[in-house]
C-alpha cells in the first residue's frame, strides 16, 4: 500500500501537471459518446461511471483508511432507495426538485446511515471492522425483505426519472442525457474525493492506516479519523446510489447484499488500492471484462475469481501497482529494453493461459452439456468435446506456451534489473 504523495504538488502550488489529468479526463468524458454512439455502448459507459464513483468511495475506506468493508453496498443501496422514493414524490407533485440534484440527496442519506453505523463500527480497523461491516450489511440486506414499505420486498422499488421538472428543457428521456448527467457527477465526485485525500483529515487517514498507535501518540484520535473517512465514503457511495437510481430507475435487494459488496471489493483490489486512479482502472477493466467475457463464456466468474486470488497472492498492488512499477524505468528512459523480453515471455504465457481456459471449457462442456451433445465452438473453431484430439492439441499448446515462458523468464528478469538499475548509466 504505497502512496506516491511525496511527489505530488502542494495545495498552493497547483501546477499544470496536477490539473492536466483532470482536464484530459473531462475532455475524454465529453467526447466518448461521439466515438461510441450506439445505445449499448452508452449503457456500458453509464454503468462504468457509476462503478467508478462507487469504487473510489470504497477505496477511501480500504486504500486510504485501511478499513476492509464487506458491507459497502448498503450505503449505495440505501442512497439509491431514498432517491427512488424522492423521484416518486416528485412525480406525485409533492416536491419541486430538479433531477440533476437528486444524487446529492442520495449522498446525504448515505452520509446519514454512515454516521449512525460509523459511530460504533470505526472503533477498530482490520478484522473487527470487517466483521461489523459484514454484520450490518447482512442485517440491512435481510431487512429489505421485511420492511416492505421502504425496500419494496422481493420486487424492489421503481420510479420514473422523466416525470421530474425539466431542467432547461432536458427531460432525461434519452440515455445520452443521462450519460452527461452521470459524467458531470463522476467528475465532481472524483475531484472531491481526490481533494479529500489531500486535506489534513485525508492525510491523517493514511497515518492511522499505517500506524494507529503512532497517530494516537501525536494526539490524533484514530477512531475519529476513521469516522470521518467512513462518513465521507458513505456520502460518495450514496451519490453513486442516486445515479444508479436515475440510470436504472429500479432498486432491489440485489443492490444491498453481500454479492454486491464483494464485487466492489474485487473491482477495487484488482484495480489497485495503493493509488488514487487504481479503482478507476479497476472499474473500467471490470465492466469491460464483464460485458465481453459474459457474452463469450458461462464460466467468466470462475476466471474472475481465479484472477482475483492470483492478484491477492502475487500482485497485491493490483493493476495500478503493476503499471507504477514501471515508472522508474520510464523516468530513466530505459523502459524500451523491457519491450522485447515482455513480448517473448508474456506472449507464450497468454497463449498457455488461453489453452488452459480451453481445457476448462471442454471439461465444463463434457460434464454439463445435454446428453449426446458433443459439439462445441471454442476460439472460433468447431470441435467435438468427446474426442481425444482437441484435448491433446490444447494440452500441447498449453505445455508449449508455459515452457517457452519459463525458458524466457530469466531474460525478462535480467532485463528488468538492468532497466531499473540505479547509478550506472550504461
Amino acid at each position: 500500500m504505497t502512496d506516491q504523495t511525496q511527489n505530488a504538488p502542494r495545495f498552493g502550488g497547483m501546477n499544470t501537471a496536477a490539473v492536466a489529468p483532470w482536464v484530459i479526463a473531462a475532455a475524454f468524458l465529453l467526447v466518448m459518446p461521439f466515438i461510441f454512439t450506439s445505445n449499448s455502448a452508452i449503457t456500458i459507459m453509464n454503468q462504468m461511471s457509476i462503478t467508478i464513483i462507487f469504487a473510489l468511495s470504497y477505496n477511501m475506506l480500504l486504500g486510504q483508511g485501511g478499513m476492509l468493508s464487506f458491507g459497502h453496498a448498503v450505503y449505495m443501496g440505501v442512497g439509491g432507495f431514498f432517491c427512488v422514493h424522492i423521484m416518486n414524490m416528485v412525480e406525485d407533485g409533492g416536491l419541486p426538485l430538479p433531477l440533476p440534484l437528486l444524487p446529492l440527496f442520495g449522498g446525504l442519506f448515505g452520509l446519514g446511515l454512515a454516521t449512525i453505523v460509523g459511530a460504533f463500527s470505526t472503533r477498530k480497523a482490520g478484522t473487527v471492522f470487517a466483521m461489523i461491516s459484514l454484520g450490518v450489511g447482512e442485517l440491512i440486506a435481510a431487512c429489505s425483505v421485511i420492511v416492505v414499505a421502504f425496500f419494496g420486498g422481493e420486487e424492489g422499488v421503481s420510479g420514473d426519472r422523466t416525470y421530474g421538472l425539466p431542467v432547461f428543457g432536458v427531460e432525461f428521456l434519452q440515455q445520452i442525457e443521462v450519460y452527461y448527467l452521470i459524467a458531470f457527477w463522476l467528475m465532481l465526485s472524483a475531484l472531491l474525493m481526490y481533494l479529500f485525500s489531500r486535506t489534513p483529515v485525508g492525510r491523517m487517514a493514511n497515518a492511522v492506516r499505517d500506524n494507529p498507535e503512532r497517530a494516537e501518540f501525536l494526539g490524533y484520535s484514530a477512531r475519529w479519523v476513521r469516522f470521518y473517512s467512513f462518513c465521507a465514503a458513505g456520502f460518495f457511495a450514496g451519490i453513486a446510489g442516486g445515479l444508479f437510481a436515475i440510470n436504472y430507475e429500479i432498486l432491489t435487494e440485489e443492490n444491498l447484499n453481500l454479492t454486491q459488496s464483494g464485487a466492489i471489493l474485487l473491482i477495487t483490489f484488482l484495480g489497485g488500492i495503493g493509488f488514487f486512479f487504481g479503482p478507476i482502472l479497476g472499474a473500467i477493466v471490470f465492466t469491460l471484462l464483464q460485458t465481453v467475457l459474459s457474452l463469450q463464456t458461462e464460466l467468466w466468474q470462475l476466471y474472475l475469481g481465479a484472477l482475483f486470488v492470483a492478484t491477492v497472492m502475487y500482485f497485491p498492488g493490483g493493476l495500478a501497482g503493476l503499471l507504477m512499477m514501471h515508472a522508474p524505468a520510464l523516468r530513466s528512459g530505459r523502459a524500451g529494453r523491457l519491450v522485447l523480453p515482455y513480448i517473448k515471455t508474456l506472449g507464450p504465457a497468454l497463449i498457455g493461459v488461453l489453452a488452459l481456459a480451453g481445457l476448462i471449457e471442454m471439461t465444463f462442456h463434457l460434464r454439463h452439456a445435454s446428453l449426446g451433445d458433443h459439439h462445441m465452438t471454442l476460439f472460433w473453431v468447431d470441435l467435438d468435446s468427446h474426442s481425444l484430439v482437441p484435448w491433446l492439441v490444447f494440452a500441447a499448446i498449453m505445455a508449449a506456451g508455459f515452457a517457452v515462458m519459463r525458458r524466457n523468464l530469466p531474460e525478462l528478469l535480467s532485463a528488468w534489473h538492468s532497466a531499473n538499475a540505479t547509478g550506472d548509466r550504461s
Partner: protein, 318 residues
C-alpha cells in the same frame, strides 16, 4: 410444552452444527489472527465430496474420507496461500480468504452445476427415533447430536489433556517463545488450520443431507458462523459453544412460534390503524416472528458489539 421440547432438540441440532464450524474458525482466529472467510466453503466442499464418495462407497465412507480430503486441502491452502499472503498483513489475508470463498463456490458450480445434489440421509438412519406428542424426531437428528458432541469432547480432550494440545495452547498466546523452545510453530499453524477445516468438512458431511447440498450453502451459513464467533467472543472456544447454542435456539424458536406483532402492539396499548395500506407503520403491524427470525443473529451481534465489544466470553476487545 411438547412443542418446546421438540424445538429444544431442533435448536440443539442447529446449534451444535454451528459450533462445529465456529470451533474451527475461532481456533484458527486466535492462533493466526486471521478470520477464515472461506471456512464455510470448506463446509460446502465436505458435503459435496461426501456426496460424490457416497455414490460409490456409501454414506459411511463419505463421513470418513471427505473430512480428511477437506483437511488436507485446508492445510494446503494455509501452506501455499495464506503463508504467502501473511507478509502483507491481516487485511490482505482476509481479502485472500474472501477471494478463496468466491473461487470455491465457482469451482463447485463448475464441477457439480448449480442444482441441488440428491445427497440423502442413509437408509440405516432413515427411521423415527421417538416421537413427542405426535411430533416425530428422526434418528438422523439424534445421530447429528451425538457426532457433534463426540467431536466436541474429543476436541476438548486434545486441547486440554494432551501434549499436542498444550503446545497449541501455548502457541496461541506466545508463538515466539514456543518457537524458541524448539517447536515447529508454522507446522502447528498448518495442522490447526487443517483440523479446523476438517471439522468444517465433518459438519458439511452430516448437514448436507438435511440442509441441502447446493452452491449457495456456504454463504448461507458462512455469515451466521462469523456472527456466532463475534457474539461468543473472538478466540473463545466456550464462547463459541454458548453463542452457537444461543443462536440455534433463538432462530428455531423464532421460526416455530407464529407471534404476530399486531398482537403485541395491541397488548401494549396501540390501536391498529383502520387502513393499513396508508399507514407508515404498515410493516410493523404485519410483521410476524418467523419473518424476523433470520435477522435476529445479526441484530444480536450489533447489540453485543455496541454494549459488550469483547463478546459474551471473550477476553480480547473485539
Amino acid at each position: 410444552m411438547d412443542l418446546i421440547l421438540v424445538n429444544l432438540i431442533d435448536g440443539l441440532v442447529t446449534g451444535l452444527l454451528l459450533f462445529m464450524l465456529s470451533a474451527g474458525l475461532t481456533l484458527i482466529f486466535s492462533m493466526m489472527g486471521v478470520l477464515n472467510f472461506a471456512h464455510a466453503s470448506f463446509y460446502m466442499l465436505g458435503a459435496y465430496f461426501a456426496y460424490q464418495i457416497s455414490l460409490f462407497f456409501g454414506f459411511w465412507m463419505g463421513l470418513l474420507i471427505a473430512p480428511v480430503i477437506v483437511g488436507v486441502m485446508g492445510a494446503g491452502v494455509e501452506r501455499y496461500g495464506l503463508r504467502r499472503v501473511h507478509q502483507y498483513g491481516h487485511v490482505p489475508e482476509l481479502i485472500f480468504t474472501f477471494g478463496l470463498a468466491l473461487l470455491i463456490e465457482e469451482l463447485v458450480q463448475f464441477l457439480w452445476g448449480k442444482n441441488q445434489m440428491p445427497y440423502a440421509v442413509p437408509e440405516v438412519l432413515h427411521f423415527t427415533a421417538f416421537s413427542i406428542a405426535g411430533n416425530s424426531i428422526p434418528a438422523y437428528k439424534i445421530f447429528m447430536i451425538f457426532v457433534s458432541l463426540a467431536i466436541f469432547m474429543a476436541l476438548l480432550f486434545v486441547l486440554t489433556r494432551t501434549r499436542v494440545g498444550m503446545i497449541i495452547q501455548a502457541a496461541l498466546s506466545y508463538p515466539k517463545t514456543v518457537e524458541a523452545l524448539g517447536h515447529n510453530v508454522p507446522l502447528v499453524f498448518m495442522g490447526v488450520f487443517g483440523v479446523g477445516t476438517a471439522l468444517a468438512g465433518v459438519a458439511g458431511v452430516i448437514a448436507g443431507p438435511v440442509l441441502g447440498t447446493f452452491p449457495g450453502m456456504a454463504f448461507l451459513l458462512g455469515s451466521i458462523v462469523f456472527v456466532t464467533i463475534v457474539i461468543g467472543g473472538l478466540g473463545s472456544l466456550w464462547g463459541a459453544l454458548v453463542a452457537s447454542l444461543l443462536i440455534g435456539w433463538l432462530t428455531t424458536f423464532a421460526a416455530s412460534y407464529n407471534v404476530a406483532f399486531a398482537d403485541i402492539l395491541t397488548w401494549i396499548g396501540f390501536t391498529m390503524p383502520a387502513d393499513l395500506d396508508d399507514s407508515m407503520w404498515r410493516d410493523l403491524w404485519t410483521l410476524t416472528m418467523p419473518q424476523i427470525g433470520p435477522i435476529l443473529p445479526y441484530l444480536l451481534m450489533v447489540l453485543i458489539l455496541v454494549f459488550r465489544p469483547h463478546g459474551l466470553l471473550g477476553k480480547r476487545e473485539a
